[in-house]
Amino acid sequence: MATYDLTDDSVVVIIGSGAGGGTLANELCQKGVPVVLLEAGHRYTIDDFHNNEWEAFGQLSWLDKRTTSGTWRVAHDFAGLPAWICKTVGGSTVHWAGASLRLQAHEFKTRTTYGEMEGANLLDWPLDLAELEPYYARAEDKMGVTRTNGIPGLPGNNNFKVMYEGATRIGYKQVHTGRMAINSRPRDGRGSCLQLGFCFQGCKSGAKWSTLYTEIPKAEATGKLELRPQCQALQIQHGPDGKVTGVLYADKDGQQQVQKARAVAVAGNSIESPRLLLNSATSQYPDGLANSSGQVGRNYMRHTTGSVYAVFDRPVNMYRGTTMAGIIQDEAGHDPSRGFAGGYEMETLSLGLPFMAAFLDPGAWGREFTDAMDHYDHMAGMWIVGEDMPRGENGVTLHATEKDQFGLPVPNVNFDDHHNDEAMRNHAYKQGRAVYEAVGATRVYEVPPYPSTHNLGTCRMSEKARDGVCNKWGQTHDHANLFISDGSQFTTGGAENPTLTIVTLAIRQAEYITDQMGKNAI
């Protein structure tokens, strides 16, 4: 592993070590580029993970103070926890479920495809599927996605058996155990899935791809990476020419340091990334860095989600095995005859008993609630994940008075569903119910969205500088050597779990950064 001097301005500083930052770090290091990777969280190993929901939650989650506003139910039930994402080396790739789907062609062109939608800030991506396909292929190979590269699908668990039978009985055709970045057989030095049932808690078998034990050690092996855990970025600094010059951060002892940089890539997930840009305001950039458009923090998307759990006469034991290895894709396309734009996926989902109690109907109590809990082992469950509409007022702003442990304003996350989101969720609840009733569900529970796991769009890509924060390479319109490298680049969200696309964009961005450095353009 390399060590770089704080004054070494030849390094690329990457902020955040998850799907975007961890991948970008490895891709750059493989090309010989020196990288300092700042990560706010601790570095754990697989042995440190807990097969226990609350323990793992306490260990891995980003729990720094955040506030919420808007009409979404999360703001009421989990006012300080808008998102369920991670603060740890590996970021949310430690916690993710592994579903790895490509965006569909039309999802890059939503303004064109869906047309003008009142109350939505729709915009076409400045790139298209064809342009990304070679990079998607590389990402799938890197991550070992099942049903690609000759890798077999995962075996279906009990929860999938219920989903499959119900789905096919009501006529769905595209039903299988998914495209998952979870080894169905040993690959890339990692073993195959042991069907632990604790994908969200950090995979103790290492079968699930995470930058923690793939990209980051590979980058370290090049001798080009210095990973600095427990180092939280506070401010990106710039010179009078508008180029960024370094990053102010708090190290593990709370001491403030400045790492000089040739370029900076921000990959702190869609709440912290815009917050960092906003907290970096100076007299030259009073609205924050990369914010000449005023779009930093706006157009926050969290996918239209919800869950459907159903109770059966006979046991299911849905918690056994891979959490999300099951999918129905028949509703994923754009079919306005359903009464909404865009589409949604239905994916198997299970929560352990502790989290089921917390999330089945947050705040509920009494016999109706406990009766549902009494049937926990007779339940099957699915998660709905669909495209939500970007809205200008949905997003991340700096709180006027609340400060974090470093004295910086905390982020507030504001969210209101668009009518399209509500119509899609309503359709998905009905379809999810139909799937389970087709196999004899005695009761069905429509479960509201959890704190957001898919956080997107707050530094979006745009062709024109006035419409967004960065260009199709993730390079900010305002600062040539400042990049956005996480899901906050997404112009629109698509219906698919975003990690594969984040990794794909990072692979492509690494080529661009290397090219620009070679030309001395940055």
């Binding site: 807990h50 097969n51 226990n52 929901e53 609350w54 077999p152 699908g153 995962l154 075996p155 279906g156 668990n157 009990n158 999938f160 058996k161 219920v162 499959y164 039978e165 039903v175 299988h176 155990t177 169905s184 057989r185 195959s192 899935c193 042991l194 069907q195 632990l196 049932g197 604790f198 103790k204 078998s205 006979r314 046991p315 299911v316 034991n317 918690y319 056994r320 095995g321 891979t322 352990g352 008993l353 502790p354 089921m356 109690a357 917390a358 705040g363 109590w365 009494g366 016999r367 609630f369 406990t370 809990m373 009494d374 926990y376 082992d377 196999v439």
Partner: protein, 183 residues
């Protein structure tokens, strides 16, 4: 949360509470007081503890789950009260307030009237503190998982790969292209 004194509580549960349950709610109140008095509490007084025990049982009623597990919630509330005097006051005053709406001691009310009182208080910080603590302390107790058929940690046993991840037999096996065999 420490689990000291479990044997003692299990003993109590097996005797006093089982008998009390058969006798009806008045006796249950007495048993709740007895169990609450046996909890190893640092901060909460026995009356507050007994009120919280019954309140928690009404909030998350599982008829076949023994009172000792609800006692675990009271212990968690006691920990919170120990850490913060404001919480201690909130709980003490809150339980005292349970006696007011019907002008009768909460513990002596019928189950239906207890529910009525709690429903009237559901939006209060006191109720939310108790409910919010209970939803974690009750359902995160490994000892109650068996009741619900949840098996907890699987890694120490090699996961479910050879322990029933796909043992559901009341539906057909999906075809292999949808669900390949485990390699």
């Amino acid at each position: 949360m420490t689990r000291k004194g479990m044997n003692r509580r299990q003993f109590l549960q097996g005797s006093a509470l089982a008998t009390a349950a058969a006798l009806g709610s008045g006796a249950l109140a007495g048993a709740a007081r007895a169990l609450a008095a046996e909890l190893e509490l640092s901060t909460l007084d026995p009356k507050t503890a007994a009120g919280l025990l019954v309140m928690t049982r009404r909030i998350y009623p599982h008829d076949t789950l023994a009172d000792q597990y609800y006692g675990g919630v009271v212990e968690a509330l006691d920990e919170a009260a120990k850490a913060d005097p404001a919480v201690a006051a909130l709980l003490k005053d809150g339980v005292a307030g349970l006696d007011l709406p019907m002008e009768m001691a909460f513990l002596e009310l019928s189950e239906g009237n207890q529910l009525k009182v709690l429903t009237g208080l559901a939006g209060t910080p006191f109720f939310q503190k108790v409910r919010g603590t209970a939803v974690v302390a009750l359902y995160n107790n490994e000892l109650v998982w068996r009741h619900f058929g949840y098996e907890g940690a699987s890694f120490p046993y090699g996961g479910y790969l050879h322990r029933g991840f796909d043992d559901l037999a009341w539906l057909p096996q999906p075809p292999e292209d949808a669900s390949p065999k485990a390699e």
